[in-house]
């Protein structure tokens, strides 16, 4: 579904990503973790071309992201993305947030879009909020709407960029529950997250990054029980022992 081959990116002389290579099969849930500044977010933003990269190749569902001839907008409409700060459109109601991509990008009718929107709001438990505006919702609710907005496009895979980092602690679980459910239904997912409980529950594989490199890329059992690199061991020791 997603294949990366020696992806590198630099700002001037600073290497953000160096030779990142990995595959994601259909139905897999990949958790990407690592210290801040290790390039995790940049890596998944490269997958849908939100971040350009200088060398290497990323193929999503047979389409090369870095190829200048690729219609990036079309590719992005098939890849769902959820952001750390939700990024709902504040000037539109919740149901319109879910509808805009469907009508303007996929060309669905207003009625189809609303119907689909309501169905997805039902699913994330927010149907009553449909006519409200994002500013009237809690962070956890906004993030669930953001997930629904991405799902409204019927994506072939989903990217999550630290979806729970900006949330108050008591709201983290409602978002993780939605993500877990999604994973169990077989959605292909790449999640940048520090939620190791989530990784242990649903991840198929864990990628650990440090200084722009993929240091570990292994099954979750292997990663949590005997991470090979010292850097990953230190990281795990710090975040698991609190």
């Amino acid at each position: 579904m997603i294949s990366m081959n020696k992806v590198s990116k630099q700002y001037g002389s600073f290497h953000v990503l160096t030779d990142c290579t990995t595959q994601v099969q259909k139905g897999e849930v990949i958790v990407v973790c690592g210290p801040s500044g290790s390039g995790k977010s940049t890596l998944i933003k490269c997958v849908n071309g939100l971040e350009p990269f200088q060398s290497g190749e990323i193929i999503v569902n047979g389409v090369s992201v870095g190829d200048p001839r690729t219609n990036l907008s079309k590719l992005r409409s098939t890849v769902g993305m959820v952001f750390q700060n939700f990024e709902l459109f504040p000037h539109m109601s919740i149901i319109d947030n879910l509808g805009i991509g469907q009508t303007k990008v996929l060309g669905r009718s207003q009625e189809q879009a609303r119907e689909k929107g309501f169905k997805l709001l039902d699913r994330v438990g927010l149907r009553e909020q449909a006519e409200k505006y994002p500013g009237q919702l809690s962070g956890g609710q906004q993030q669930r709407v953001a997930i629904a907005r991405a799902l409204a496009m019927d994506p072939i895979c989903m990217l999550f960029d630290e979806p729970t980092s900006a949330l108050d602690p008591e709201m983290v679980n409602e978002v993780l529950d939605v993500m877990t459910e999604l994973a169990q239904e077989g959605m292909t997912m790449m999640c940048v997250t520090h939620e190791m409980g989530f990784a242990k529950r649903v991840a198929s594989r864990v990628i650990f990054m440090d200084q722009g490199r993929i240091v570990e890329d292994d099954s979750k059992e292997a990663f949590f029980e005997h991470a090979r690199s010292e850097r990953a061991q230190q990281f795990l020791a710090k975040i698991l022992h609190h």
């Binding site: 993305m81 952001f83 990008v105």
Partner: protein
Amino acid sequence: MHEFDWSSIPNALPFLWDGMKISLEITVTAVIFGIVWGTLLALMRLSSIKPLSWFAAGYVNLFRAIPLVMVLLWFFLIVPHLLESLFGLPRGSDMRLSSAIAGFALFEAAYYSEIIRAGIQSVPKGQMAAASALGMTYGQSMRLVVLPQAFRNMVPLLLTQGIILFQDTSLVYVSALADFFGAAYKVGDRDGRLVELLLFAGAVYFVICFTASRIVRYYQNKLKTA
């Protein structure tokens, strides 16, 4: 000591009102065209296509560095001749109003584009990313997501600039166009009551602009609490 005599004003009111209509016409048209052209300039300025961005930067810097009254004179003196020769219009057709409107619109666009550019930049970058991630093109993301938010934040500034523009319309007196100020001047000159007419005109400008800026302030506060 000057003896005030206001008697020439009541009779002149219809003529003054005609002048006011011209002032308002210039203001409204120039605001609309200024905002449209200013938006395009702002988008060019922010564009990654260098020549567009250079053009917009040059345009804005040029118009912000020359006095408005000079731009109006240029338009008054040059543009009619240009149009006459370009479109074969009859010599001496009265194009003072249209050249004044064009001058204002092009001049104000430079100021509007700076307001709009700041407005666009005030919208968090993530909004553009989220719109792109849904598969929207750059144009769609701007039109449907970024610009509506930018304009919402900018409305008070755009209106304030409109009020300034309304005051500046008085400068069209250089082209002998009878806007409100020009009309008042003409009446005062004719009746030998210049002081009264100019005081009256000043009071009218004050009432209109002060009221308008209060409305803007009210809107601004509402926006803040929303």
